[in-house]
Symmetry: C2
């Protein structure tokens, strides 16, 4: 069914929430959790992935929280997907040919076609950023 997972869906919404704040504002997890209806502990678990990717930053301790680390215009849907799920791959074979039961046969037209479709998908994901969403 080809879907993004729940964690990514939550991440999109958390990033959009932060993108809507005045630049640099620090918001604590509970506030985001309530506003975006994301289970608190789950949010706390996925934020580090966004941090590692450089999308958000965090401040620990009292009055701590999260803030956007980049300009919303520079954060694409692809960035968030990759932060949470790793590289997009329509088919395992496209990343690791050892998964292919035809063993990465270069003549596999199915996989070559999927590779082309995947490229279009990646381009499309990279074509939407959070600045665009904030302005809507």
């Amino acid at each position: 069914m080809m879907n993004i997972n729940q964690a990514t869906d939550y991440a999109f919404r958390a990033v959009l929430y932060l993108a809507r704040q005045t630049r640099g504002r620090v918001v604590d997890a509970q506030t985001i959790s309530k506003a975006e209806v994301i289970p608190m502990r789950f949010l706390l678990k996925i934020m580090p992935s966004l941090i590692k990717k450089g999308i958000v930053g965090s401040q620990r301790g009292a009055k701590g929280g999260y803030f956007l680390a980049e300009d919303p215009e520079d954060i694409t849907f692809l960035d968030v997907v990759e932060a949470i799920e790793g590289p997009v791959k329509l088919n395992r074979c496209l990343i690791d040919p050892s998964y292919c039961s035809k063993d990465g046969a270069p003549e596999c037209l199915v996989h070559r076609t999927l590779a082309g479709i995947q490229e279009k998908l990646v381009t499309e994901l990279a074509g939407h950023n959070f600045g665009e969403l904030v302005r809507k």
Copy 2:
């Protein structure tokens, strides 16, 4: 990670195999299984889904097997994906809003954006057919 599943991958290859035969030729499961390196019992399990969609036909009994029920030009990647996995949906919310923790709020820009991306993906999948692959 957004991928199609193994069953769909096998289905692509089975359909391509049949598309490469002279039109209407009946090929039994074991032959397809061996040629395309697809576990026999698994292939037998997924073929009925292709039949229900009208992509392939079957003949039971001795000398039975499967054959392509349509012109390869008329069978798209989307057809096969939908036969095996059902409708493409990047996010559960896009099919069933009750899954959305924000409960299908029409103002959910994330989901609206994903809907647009999904549409592009569907178009792309529908843009590749098996006649094209056979000619390559």
